[in-house]
């Protein structure tokens, strides 16, 4: 097992070094995606199946597609570009500041590595095992995400919705995007794969309560399915009415979560305090709505702008 760790660690370090220093931008992006893949292997090695699922769906799938659509719009991404930035300043002031910075960072990193020896890592695993039965779900990570620390998940879905709002504020995108080259094979492939995508997405969503899965990997797989449909040119035409529904689907996950929490508060249990007998079903409802709206939000992030249906 030690040999495996060493090789994995070496490969990760080499990929990071390649990603940051290979002259060609495209090679850097590919090294970054390979780094994502190997990180998923590291999550599997460290027995974190939920994170491996999320990394697989979001890390290598979605981030890769995002990077490619960005690179596609930068024509000279293959050209050799200067790597290091030219030194900004000159004269004693700059070197004094640079020297001060260099020394302080070295000290901090040495202290950081020394402090690693002290960490006892007590962890809350045992404490959580006792209370898991009261949480209404069997999978400990889902229990933490949706019951014990549910406030973090609410704010995280808010971050995702805010990211969509910021991307939409930055500009509009012609919809549906004109397809540059016709690929009949791609349409066939997509027709075959889409049912499997939907099957896997909803199976991940359903078993989130008792096994690794849940709202985030299933949302990411849904987003991947819709991106494939978009790339194959199979996109629906958007009218003002669909735009209205699109905004509500995007906001559904956050709204359901917050309104459920508030209704519990008004019912007297307290904000986001699930009563014992309904905990399972409420968590399932929240997870399904969150999964679907996360899929829609990640798709909106991939499109990279507010769909402008006048252009269609």
């Amino acid at each position: 097992m030690v040999l495996f760790d060493l090789i994995l660690g070496l490969l990760l370090v080499v990929l990071v070094q390649k990603c940051l220093s290979v002259t060609d931008l495209f090679g850097a992006v590919i090294s970054f995606m390979a780094f994502g893949l190997l990180m998923a292997v590291a999550w599997v090695r460290l027995e974190a199946p939920d994170i491996a699922l999320a990394e697989a769906a979001i890390g290598s799938g979605l981030t890769g597609a995002l990077l490619f659509s960005t690179l596609g719009r930068l024509p000279h991404s293959e050209a050799r570009q200067p790597i290091a930035s030219r030194t900004v300043g000159s004269g004693p002031g700059y070197w004094l500041a640079a020297g001060f910075w260099w020394v302080s960072i070295m000290l901090l990193s040495v202290a950081f590595f020394l402090s690693l020896l002290e960490l006892q890592a007590p962890g809350l695993g045992g404490y959580l095992q006792e209370r898991l039965s009261e949480s209404g779900v069997l999978n400990p990570v889902t229990a933490v995400l949706l019951n014990f620390r549910s406030l973090d998940t609410v704010m995280e879905i808010a971050v995702l919705l805010l990211a969509v709002a910021v991307v939409w504020s930055l500009g509009t995108v012609g919809w549906p995007a004109k397809q540059k080259l016709s690929l009949p094979l791609l349409v066939g492939l997509v027709r075959l794969l889409t049912p499997v995508f939907l099957l896997v997405a909803f199976s991940l969503l359903w078993r989130g309560n008792h096994a690794p899965g849940g709202a985030f990997p299933s949302g990411a797989v849904l987003a991947a399915a819709s991106i494939l449909l978009l790339l194959a040119g199979k996109t629906i035409r958007i009218y003002p009415l669909t735009m209205f529904w699109l905004r509500w689907v995007l906001a559904a996950g956050l709204l359901v979560f917050v309104l459920a929490g508030m209704s519990l508060m008004f019912a007297g249990y307290g904000f986001l305090v699930y009563p014992e007998q309904w905990a399972g079903t409420m968590i399932l409802i929240i997870e399904v709505s969150a999964g679907v709206s996360i899929g829609a939000m990640l798709m909106a992030l991939y499109i990279g702008g507010e769909p402008d249906f006048h252009a269609g």
């Binding site: 490969l11 390979a34 659509s69 540059k180 794969l193």
Partner: protein, 95 residues
């Protein structure tokens, strides 16, 4: 038994290291993409072997999601990621 699988995983990781050379040397962008697709498949294989070595059947689902997503990366590259100089770059969005 698990040591055999771990040795095999080590060999597969060696494949990734060799594949890395193609990323650096690959003259065209498509070669680099081939190497990336190769990494995807090798990762699925590594996760399968780890699933056997650590005998946890949950990792088969991770491999399944990886297999699904490897198609997305290639398609995204071919349709959007390949910078195309001849036909120029249409302005498909109004900033």
């Amino acid at each position: 038994m698990t040591t055999l699988y771990l040795v095999l995983v080590g060999v597969l990781m060696g494949n990734i290291a060799i594949g890395l050379i193609r990323i650096l040397r690959g003259p065209t962008v498509a070669d680099r993409m081939l190497a990336a697709e190769f990494f995807g498949t090798v990762t699925v294989a590594i996760i399968l072997l780890l699933a056997i070595a650590m005998d946890k059947s949950v990792y088969y689902d991770v491999a399944l999601v990886f297999a699904l997503l490897s198609a997305l990366a290639v398609v995204a590259f071919v349709t959007r990621g390949w910078p195309d100089r001849k036909s120029g770059e249409q302005e498909d969005e109004r900033g």
